[in-house]
Amino acid sequence: MNNRNLIIASVIAFLGALFFVAYQKKIIIFNCGGYHSIPATAIEKKQITFFFFTPDKAYTETQLMVLDQYHDRTLLLILNRWLEIALEEKLVPQKVIVQDTALNQDFTDLYLSFDKVPWAAYAPTKVKWFILEGILHTIKNLGFAITKVYFLVNHKPIEDYHLNFSRAWPINGFMQNA
């Protein structure tokens, strides 16, 4: 193979790889006509109850939300809204978002990944616990089949000195032990 053919083959391979990366990053999208629009009944509006606990009181807030047909995306919307309300109520010290949610095949295990821990570094254990209890109660109230929740930060188990996250937390939380 002479040099000219080698150069042509290299350029073609490079362009092919560039095209492949662009397709993966969704810079180029193909519309093959095989996609179906999501039926209107799959998206619903629902009254969602958000639970909040503080060492002094427990309260709820109800809001109308447009939900997705998929449970993991629904949970992402709901939990991000929970965090927004918690920030307004000053229950969390800074803006925290749920980066990702994932469910196992049976829809019983939920993996919840935050971008940072949703409590202050100086917070007492009870405050940290109550933040998580609010999240657990809100998820439980949705009526999904979730039985346990893994709390993660940047897709890794949270490392906290006072609370252990090596295992999943049960959806019922630990308030019944109080």
Binding site: P124, K126, Y161, L163, N164, W169, N177
Partner: protein
């Protein structure tokens, strides 16, 4: 024959009687293990001008001083570290399990501007619906070993709270059962306390009350 009979009775009966009266087996002191949160590397939360690790160590050492009984050897208290010491991961748990202690207490602290200090009591639980017993040869996972003495932990935590409630100088909360990290992997009865305070908090008085409570549940 008669003489041999009485000699046999004397030689056999005396040590058996003495053993039952504990002449040869003195009562083992109640061994309390205090874990002061943090170490020289993990300083913890900020409490006014100090770190949690130094406040907890000072509190634990003061509790130890009040707890240890100089008149008799019925109570013994160990603190997990000394100032400036760095602990390996799970060193406290390994040390406590090897010593076969009677009670493990984790001491933690956080800042609160309130004048009256509060003590929140925690014990470890993942709400595991199983019962574990301690057998000579067994493999018990690190995060479920607490089940062996779960009932003792609950009982002692409740007794401790009952005593602390009698003090007018403290607010008491708990005991709460949740995955309290300092207590993971502890085989003996264990509970943790989280004390709120600031630079005006009288640590000696607080330690004295806590030590009294611990002695009551130790006996």
């Amino acid at each position: 024959m008669k003489n041999y009979f009485f000699l046999f009775l004397f030689l056999y009966g005396t040590p058996v009687t003495a053993w039952n009266l504990n002449f040869f087996s003195p009562k083992k002191p109640f061994l309390l293990f205090l874990e002061a949160a943090g170490d020289s590397r993990t300083v913890g939360r900020i409490i006014d001008t100090q770190f949690e690790s130094s406040v907890c160590l000072e509190l634990a050492q003061t509790i130890q001083r009040f707890y240890n009984d100089k008149t008799s050897s019925l109570f013994e208290c160990l603190v997990n570290r000394t100032p400036g010491q760095t602990l390996a991961l799970y060193a406290n748990q390994q040390y406590a399990n090897k010593l076969s202690i009677d009670l493990y207490v984790s001491v933690n602290a956080y800042f609160s501007p309130e004048k009256t200090p509060s003590v929140t009591i925690y014990r470890f639980s993942y709400n595991d619906p199983i019962i574990l017993t301690d057998k000579n040869i067994s493999f018990i996972p690190f995060d479920t070993i607490y089940l062996i003495n779960e009932s003792s932990s609950t009982r002692m935590a409740l007794q401790f709270k009952e005593y602390l409630n009698t003090s007018a100088h403290l607010e008491v909360d708990g005991p709460y059962a949740l995955p309290f990290n300092p207590l993971i992997g502890i085989k003996s009865a264990a509970f943790g306390i989280e004390v709120s305070g600031n630079s005006d908090t009288n640590l000696e008085e607080l330690a004295s009350i806590i030590a009294d409570g611990l002695r009551r549940i130790s006996s």
